[in-house]
């Protein structure tokens, strides 16, 4: 069993009368890429801020690396890198100067070469002396990633890291997270509105809604618990429907258009259905599993 890196138990936080977080609990294991999901205003940012000691929760406990954030704040933050919401740096300073400022506060001694290497690593090589005020959103995001990784943290917290990035930037960040997990065995918490991204990158996740953690677990296990909705694009829709109903009389088949139908089916039965349709001489142009994380997410937050 993996070691627990983070254990959050029943945290709650009020701002005046507004209950931003009511009851959030979850844990993150060593080496997880952990998805942190929830609609806007669900309490994700407040929870992350509590984890990083930016906001003090009214109740509950937060343990990171086996220590309480309330009593071992500096030791925990020394091993943590984070981007909260968006990376904000000193506008009047260059990329290099900004990283230098933050690297001085880390416990790891960082040389000029380390900073140059890191800027190169995130694709900002050659822009070291450019002022932050002149950076595009994507460049700011990359500089934020550089600052997060510069002191070689064990835990990386990324809040919406791909927001505003172009498609190539999104792929780069996604690959970077996977490299951090696979090559350096880092633990990553990824809060994102891009649910497909969570589905692709994360192995575990928690869904937060209205300040409460709704569900937590392995992404694959959570996805496999439920039936899928499969969309089929066929050469002969009517013949296919007759065949399916003959085998599964209670099946509800939905017509989408002249060639497409949708039907709820268990994941394990897709290959069998495929074989039956092909054997009956029905051409299958595409099979698309429709119940993705989006559907699961919507179902959970509307429960």
């Amino acid at each position: 069993m993996s070691e627990k890196i983070i254990e959050i138990k029943s945290i709650a936080k009020k701002f005046g009368l507004f209950e931003a977080v009511k009851d959030v609990s979850f844990h993150v294991n060593q080496g997880d890429v952990f998805g942190f999901l929830g609609p806007n205003g669900a309490g994700k940012s407040t929870t992350i801020r509590c984890m990083l000691s930016l906001v003090k929760p009214d109740s509950g406990s937060i343990e990171i690396f086996g220590k309480s954030i309330f009593t071992h704040r500096n030791d925990i933050l020394a091993r943590t890198g984070s981007i909260i919401e968006k990376p904000d740096f000193y506008k009047y300073l260059s990329a290099y100067r900004n990283l230098e400022i933050f690297s001085r506060l880390s416990r790891l001694s960082t040389s000029k070469q380390d900073i140059y290497k890191m800027l190169d690593f995130v694709g900002l090589g050659g822009r070291e002396k450019d002022k932050f005020s002149g950076f595009s959103h994507g460049m700011k995001q990359r500089l934020g990633i550089a600052q997060t990784l510069l002191h070689n943290p064990d835990l990386i917290v990324l809040d919406e890291p791909t927001t505003g990035l172009d498609p190539q930037g999104i792929i780069d960040i996604r690959n970077l997270i996977l490299r951090l997990k696979n090559e350096q065995h880092k633990t990553v918490i990824l809060s994102s509105h891009n649910l497909a991204e969570i589905e692709i990158i994360c192995n575990r996740m928690v869904i937060i809604n209205k300040g409460v953690s709704v569900v937590e677990g392995e992404v694959k296990a959570l996805m496999n618990n439920e039936d899928l909705v499969v969309r089929l694009e066929l050469s002969n829709k009517e013949k296919a429907k007759a065949l399916i109903l003959a085998q599964y009389p209670n099946m509800t088949i939905t017509d989408i258009n002249e060639t497409n139908i949708e039907l709820p089916i268990e994941k394990s039965m897709i290959s069998e259905l495929n074989k039956d349709l092909v054997n009956a001489g029905i051409g299958i142009f595409s099979i698309e599993a429709k119940r993705k994380l989006e559907d699961y997410f919507i179902k959970m937050v509307n429960t």
Binding site: F15, R49, L52, S53, L54, V55, K56, R73, N74, D75, L77, A78, T80, S82, I84, E85, K86, P87, D88, F89, Y90, K91, Y92, L93, R97, I101, F102, R104, L105, S106, R107, Q147
Partner: protein
């Protein structure tokens, strides 16, 4: 070690921020204008003051010398300097909140108290630089342009004439007390800066408080008698005490003590508020 690095960071940030040079530039221009005015027509101003004493005293030698020029400059500018200090120090915490960098700073392994104290120290270093520059521009430039000589000071008790050899240590003492008063202004603005995420608010509030206290201090109303001795502004002009003869040691000690108490209180309040603060910016 991380505390020293944090102080260095704060000093670097102040040094690289264009706004920080406004104070230095303003002093250069203001002192330059006063020096030019005194060089062009200084004697007529001096004659206006000395004429009332000419029936009983005769003035010989270089009356309008560097020592007198420096005293005139300090007298004229010491009221404006707090604004120049607050312009930079009032932004040290709230400016970071407005920019969002406070979030980045507070996720580093340095305690909030250490981070805040490094800002107070950096604010103090900036104040010292401003005072040293004011000293250079007034005393050194004054002596270079007007030569040296005995210092003639007109205060509430009458005319005080200080020997040339007796002046330099008084300037040193005067500047030290002026530094302490301005450091208190810096502490006040940083303290106010802990309460808000708006970078202009603490600067305006600091100036408003100084203005209000100055008015209370000058209003000859009995109801304020009990608070007047404890107001920061009542001790901002204490540097002048160094140019009295005999030296009012007790008054100077009292001013230093009250300014130090102000600093301890303001820094303590700031640490308490900053440690309790939820960073939602």
């Amino acid at each position: 070690m991380i505390f020293i690095k944090s102080i260095y960071n704060e000093v670097i940030k102040i040094a690289l921020k264009p706004r920080s040079y406004l104070g230095i530039a303003a002093i250069t221009v203001l002192v330059g204008v006063i020096l030019f005015a005194l060089k062009s027509d200084g004697m007529s101003i001096i004659s206006f003051v000395t004429s009332s004493f000419e029936q009983t005293l005769s003035f010989e030698g270089n009356v309008l010398n560097g020592n007198l020029v420096a005293f005139i400059i300090l007298q004229m500018l010491i009221i404006q300097i707090p604004l120049l200090i607050a312009l930079v120090t009032g932004d040290l915490v709230s400016g970071e909140a407005a920019m969002g960098t406070i979030r980045m700073l507070l996720t580093q392994p340095i305690s909030r108290t250490q981070l805040l104290l490094s800002k107070f120290i950096a604010g103090g270093i900036y104040t010292l630089v401003v005072i040293v520059w004011l000293g250079f521009m007034s005393v050194i430039m004054g002596k270079l342009l007007f030569g040296t000589g005995d210092l003639m000071v007109l205060n509430s008790d009458g005319l005080v004439i200080l020997q040339e050899a007796d002046v330099n240590w008084r300037y040193a003492g005067g500047f030290l007390v002026a530094f302490l008063a301005l450091f208190t202004v810096s502490s006040l603005s940083i303290c106010l800066s802990c309460f808000t995420d708006n970078s202009i608010g603490p600067i305006v509030t600091t100036m408003s408080i100084i203005l209000l206290f100055t008015i209370i201090g000058t209003l000859d109303v009995h109801v304020f008698d009990s608070v007047r001795p404890f107001l920061l502004t009542s001790h901002m002009a204490s540097w002048r005490s160094f140019f009295e003869d005999p030296l009012p040691i007790l008054d100077i000690k009292n001013s230093i003590l009250i300014l130090l108490i102000h600093n301890v209180l303001l820094i303590s309040i700031s640490i308490y508020v900053f440690n309790k603060k939820d960073i939602t910016a």
